[in-house]
């Protein structure tokens, strides 16, 4: 099993079960399409989605029912943006790993909005949730 396989599976599941339904709901409420910013901390996945093909992952369609071409097509649209995110700011990290370090745990909780009201004005939170200005991998 390639190390990128679970990451591609996670990307596909997140987009299919959360992102696309949320877009439909948003469009119903506001009559406009928002930008969908997709953050991933794996360069391999970003490369696969950008190219739309990966000869070493041909099994994905059979074993996981995932079409890389479909992911590529989604991210070819104007309002879909694929972004690299550093692991320290990866909000989904808390849902995959067991934390035992209290400081790392506090940061992970802040990323998913679990915080004390007094932390809302802290610099630590501002640094953690600051919007990324780095390269955005648009497929167009």
């Amino acid at each position: 099993m390639s190390h990128s396989t679970p990451e591609v599976v996670a990307a596909d599941v997140t987009l299919r079960t959360m992102g696309l339904p949320a877009l439909s709901v948003w469009e119903t409420f506001t009559d406009s399409s928002p930008k969908l910013l997709f953050h991933d901390d794996n360069q391999g996945v970003i490369g696969v989605v950008r190219s739309g093909r990966n000869p070493t992952m041909r099994h994905l369609e059979r074993t996981h029912e995932i079409s890389i071409t479909s992911l590529h097509e989604h991210f070819s649209k104007d309002h879909f943006v694929l972004m690299y995110e550093i692991t320290a700011k990866m909000a989904a990290d808390i849902h995959t790993k067991g934390f035992t370090n209290p400081l790392a745990w506090k940061k992970a909780c802040m990323l998913i909005n679990l915080l004390d009201p007094e932390d809302l004005g802290s610099k630590q939170l501002a640094d953690l949730v600051q919007e990324r200005r780095g390269p955005q991998y648009s497929i167009r």
């Binding site: 599976v9 928002p34 996981h64 990866m90 909000a91 909780c109 909005n113």
Partner: protein, 275 residues
Amino acid sequence: MYYHKELKLLLVIYLDDLKLAGASQNFTKGRELLRSKLRMEPKADLGLYLGCLLSKGTNRLHDGTEVTTMTYNMEGLLKLSVEKYLELVGKDTKLKQVSTPSLPEETKQHKSRAPAPGGPKHAVQCPWCSTKFDPGLSVALQPDSSDSRPESVEVQRGALAPHAASILMKLLYAERIARFDLLRSINTLARNVTKWSIQDDAKLYHLMCYVNSTLGKSMIGWVGNDVKDLSIALYADADSAECAQSSRPTSGSHMHIQGKHTRFPLAVGSNARGV
């Protein structure tokens, strides 16, 4: 859930609890429409809704921007969960203060990943990890005699096996509404409900200690941008077969509304996947 396209109001109905959201200038008209068909109590402010205490407020971010906040607090329901747990394990049980819901997890040295030990006659030593094993036997049939790890402890049925599902499901409801930090720990334990061991008892005890230590922890979403400046942010992550028992990877997903001064959580997911 109903949406009124003209008034741009969203109505959520759960039995006799109604929640109306949308453009504030249309609220009065929306309420009048509802009252024309339903007998309703006078309008109440945000409060307890489906077990979650909602409160709206304002706060300032680090750069001085004033934002509107929405706080989701599940303290009441979590207290009930802790009480139920203590009833089952005994009121004398002391719940210690812990900072995280996870116990240290051993994956690299876990029994399921170690080379099979084999018999002493044909054993060869792995030059990489120095473990002795018999290459002639299939892994599934290898004897486990030289393994000093407490296998019997691992497979022994835990005392909370009959009650684990009800405790976990109560916690899961609180997690779905406002305590996303509990998701992974609950899901990891829920996978073992049918094969509950005393190790799972220990993990559940640690989880309850964490819940008891963080009863007042709230989820706070803040909004400081106009709707046209907002985006949907998705985060996807996976571990690399970190589950020691099954070697299956876990997919993690997180979604929130994002803007320069906005971060409002919407949904999360944590699922074990096949390899």
